[in-house]
């Protein structure tokens, strides 16, 4: 789970070493990555929303 999160975060940031990326892409199923990605996107959007809310008050 942690490595999936790590991989998704690295993808969000856009930088990942070749070695780690290869390891990630050795995984049997892409679904954990896709689901985590979607989830993290939602988390990100909500976080920016809170930030905007906080900044506007």
């Amino acid at each position: 789970m942690w490595r999936v999160l790590q991989a998704v975060l690295a993808a969000f940031f856009g930088v990942q070493s070749e070695r780690k990326r290869r390891e990630d892409f050795q995984q049997s199923s892409p679904w954990p990555f896709i689901l985590t990605g979607v989830l993290m996107t939602l988390v990100f959007v909500v976080a920016v929303g809170f930030l905007a809310h906080w900044a506007s008050s």
């Binding site: 969000f12 856009g14 930088v15 990942q16 990326r21 892409f25 959007v45 905007a52 506007s56």
Partner: protein, 555 residues
């Protein structure tokens, strides 16, 4: 049409097995004999023929849209109403935008996808070839319908390519219903085309090619296709609501009945912003193919390119209201969209830096595709940077709806997307036609285009900052010099595209230096294993694929 079905002869199999590239040799009798004459083009399901149709259609639309732009530039040559009346001027700007976006740039990329995706992933054709034919032929119908509105009573669409309600509903010319139906047809075409592209990429890759082995053009198109499927239906939805407001008395965009004109803008830009990336992501893929070829060096940061493309695509769904900063959004929304928009600069910057690093310590030569690709990088970066400026919401209160915005999005779309399409054409013309494009004409085309395009659009930054609103047929005197330059540049750029037409015609008539299978020294990828010109049917069987990272020439 006979319903004879393709035979699978042993002879073909033997041939195909002999060599991946040689697969083409077997193709001649692979399919039923195609009908000759015009019927052939109407019925074709061949990805190369459909690709050519898309590309030629988009070239035609590029010239039609260009002529409309020149009408606009002629009117703006000097202050005062010179040639056309304001309502005609508004039709020109509107049609120019609609045709260039939906008729020229998008079909050009779809055409490139049709031609190149199957070649790059070792597929025999698109996944759903008949649907492919359908997708293409919808476009001529849609655009004939759209263009015909110009000749209808009350004229064609005159409310800008963003067609904000209620100017496009309650106050629109009667032809608007036809405009809406034309958009529906074009939308169906895009959605089905995108479905086809996704199915092709996910399904028809040659064994051994994993997702992270795909050329970036394939990657960017995969993501673009996803965007298309996600947002074109929203456009269809919003134009349907317009149709109802106009013809059936609903009040979606009318406050008197409880609606809101701003709702239109939210829906439109929820489509419109991803649409902008639909027009630029495939360009990133093209540049990422060309730069390594002529730098003779592997693309720097392949994985981060993929991630950046995906990030841009995801972010594109949550930034739409930055087109609406002055529409009176609540403060929280204003801040939210400002922050998300600013973030887009990060993955976009990564792409530019990656190209920069690819060039660094390469072995660089300056063939025609490379010239266009390099010009793309520089000019697109200018457009990207003005985009960062526009993201700063308070500053956008001054930039919004001025020529600064016009300069920004034209820098992204013309010296950006169009240059990438031209680069792609010069890069793959040898593969399509078997001959190199004329170096002389191509060089002239390149330099005149670069000068013309910058002369047209660079002064627009200044006229915009100085206060010139967009979509006006006449302007105050202080904007005269900038507009004069822009108009001269516009005509220079417009006419120099005739050189490109000449290049294409010469190539199509096989006039020019014959090209070998791999016409560019540093090019890699499955498409270059095929003979030039690529035979009508290629990859009868899946070709052998060696991932780039294992290839000896560019370690």
């Amino acid at each position: 049409m006979s319903s004879t079905l393709p035979p699978h002869s042993d002879k073909q199999q033997a041939l195909s097995d002999s060599a991946a590239g040689g697969a083409a040799a077997s193709a001649a009798d692979h399919h039923q004999s195609a009908p000759s004459g015009p019927l052939r083009w109407l019925l074709t399901t061949n990805h190369k023929e459909i690709g050519s149709l898309y590309l030629l259609f988009s070239l035609l639309m590029f010239f039609i849209g260009g002529v409309l732009a020149l009408v606009v530039r002629a009117e703006l040559f000097q202050p005062g109403l010179m040639f056309v009346q304001p309502e005609f001027f508004n039709q020109m700007t509107t049609m120019h935008g609609l045709i260039m976006v939906f008729g020229a740039i998008m079909p050009a990329f779809v055409g490139l996808a049709n031609w190149m995706l199957p070649l790059q992933i070792g597929a025999p054709d698109m996944a759903l070839p008949r649907l492919n034919n359908f997708s293409f032929w919808l476009l001529p119908v849609a655009f004939t319908l759209l263009l015909s509105t110009l000749f209808m009573e009350g004229g064609g669409p005159n409310f800008g390519w963003t067609f904000y309600a209620p100017l496009s509903t309650t106050y629109a010319p009667p032809s608007t219903s036809f405009f809406i139906l034309a958009m529906h047809l074009a939308g169906i075409s895009s959605i089905l085309g995108a479905i086809n592209i996704i199915a092709t990429i996910l399904n028809l890759r040659t064994p051994g090619m994993r997702l992270m082995d795909m050329p970036l053009f394939v990657w960017t198109w995969l993501i673009t296709a996803f965007l298309l499927i996600a947002v074109m239906p929203v456009l269809a939805g919003v134009v349907t609501m317009m149709l109802l407001d106009i013809n059936f008395g609903t009040s979606f965009f009318d406050a008197a009945g409880g609606g809101d004109p701003v709702l239109f803008q939210h829906l439109f830009w929820f489509f419109g912003h991803p649409e902008v990336y639909i027009m630029i992501l495939p360009a990133f893929g093209i540049i990422s193919a060309i730069v390594p070829t002529f730098a003779r060096k592997r693309l720097f940061g392949y994985a981060s390119m993929v991630y950046a493309t995906a990030s841009i695509a995801l972010l594109s769904f949550v930034v739409w209201a930055h087109h609406m900063f002055t529409v009176g959004l609540p403060l929280v929304a204003e801040l939210f969209f400002m922050y998300t928009t600013m973030l887009i600069a990060v993955p976009t910057g990564v792409k530019v830096f990656n190209w920069m690093a690819t060039l660094f310590r390469g072995s660089i030569s300056f063939e025609l595709p490379m010239l266009f690709a390099l010009a793309f990088i520089v000019q697109f970066t200018i457009g990207g940077l003005s985009g960062v400026m526009l993201a700063i919401s308070p500053a956008d209160f001054q930039y919004h709806d001025t020529y600064f915005v016009v300069a920004h999005f034209h820098y992204v779309l013309v010296p950006g997307a169009v240059f990438a399409i031209l680069a792609a054409a010069y890069y793959w013309l040898p593969k399509w036609t078997g001959v190199y494009p004329s170096e002389k004409l191509g060089q002239a085309h390149f330099w005149l285009s670069v000068i013309g395009v910058n002369l047209t659009f660079f002064p627009m930054h200044f006229s915009g900052l100085a206060g010139m609103p967009r979509r006006i047929p006449d302007y105050a005197l202080q904007f005269a010099d900038f507009n004069l330059l822009s108009s001269i540049g516009g005509f220079l750029f417009g006419t120099s595209q005739l050189l490109f037409l000449a290049v294409v015609i010469l190539c199509m008539r096989k006039k020019g230096k014959k090209a070998p299978a791999n016409p560019w020294e540093g090019a890699e990828g499955l498409e270059w294993q095929l003979p030039s010109p690529a035979p009508l049917h290629t990859f009868d069987t899946p070709p052998e694929f060696i991932p780039e990272r294992d290839s000896p020439s560019r370690s």
